[in-house]
Symmetry: C2
Subunit: 131 residues, 2 copies
DNA sequence: GTGGCTGCAAAATGTTTGCACGGAT
DNA sequence: ATCCGTGCAAACATTTTGCAGCCAC
């Protein structure tokens, strides 16, 4: 199937690229619809999936509540998330490509292909609000 | 608030403890309701949360689809999951308590409290089915 | 007897899908 | 002229919640 370039897809890409943090699908939807109120949320979901599949953006797996986030950085790196508000932050720590060779699945025939290292914590805002 | 011991809670605990793998809330519900058909799914959810909070079982964060799993092992260890069927397996790899001290959040004031290392792969069944 | 726990149904949440139509190629 | 992408609403999956009655304490 050939792939078409549409205004909605361009807007979705733009929104993720210009977002300072790690937007959820709903974040992206709200940004776009503030300017282009006719866009459908389903379209945003579909385009985020397409863009991630094409490698133009990166899908960041579910955090805490199971909400997917997106990332304009496309290189492999680790993330942290705030257990209070769900905010996602980049973590500086060298990416360990070898760790999957050291890991031993305790089940026969399970083959590891990749890994995900997630740090849980509390962001500044939530900590200050907490006391 | 004082905590009561109910038949439903005992059944929920039993189901998780005797489950060979890592059951979802629905797995637990189906097991219990096959014998005690009157139990409510909401009760299972509530009791799984209570038991995890009490440290009697362990909550295993969302995998792929964002479905929560439970674990009868209460010691810290890593997990892998099959990207095809969602099956969760234990991973043998020494738990690194120090890694959170090496990780540097790229945002001021974010304090890391714990980490989660998840391996993605394909289980034997899905691989054999795949070709 | 009190109030936490239960069952039920409804709501909430995040995401996907069916469908007819409009627009990119 | 195709037929992919869109908007809309409905469906989906998982989990939570409001409420009246029940039962463990």
């Amino acid at each position: 199937m050939e792939r078409r370039n549409t205004m909605q897809k361009a807007l979705t890409y733009e929104a993720v690229m210009s977002y300072p943090g790690h937007p959820s699908a709903d974040d992206v939807y709200r940004i776009i619809s503030s300017e282009h109120s006719s866009i459908s949320k389903a379209t945003v979901y579909r385009n985020l999936s397409l863009l991630a599949e094409e490698g133009k953006i990166r899908r960041v797996e579910s955090f805490g509540n199971g909400e997917v986030r997106y990332d304009h950085r496309t290189d492999k790196h680790y993330h942290g998330y705030c257990s209070k508000c769900g905010r996602v932050v980049d973590i500086r720590l060298s990416y360990d490509n070898e760790i999957i060779n050291k890991a031993l699945p305790m089940e026969d025939g399970f083959v590891i292909t990749s890994h995900e290292l997630i740090f849980e914590g509390i962001c500044k805002e939530c900590r200050e609000k907490g006391e």
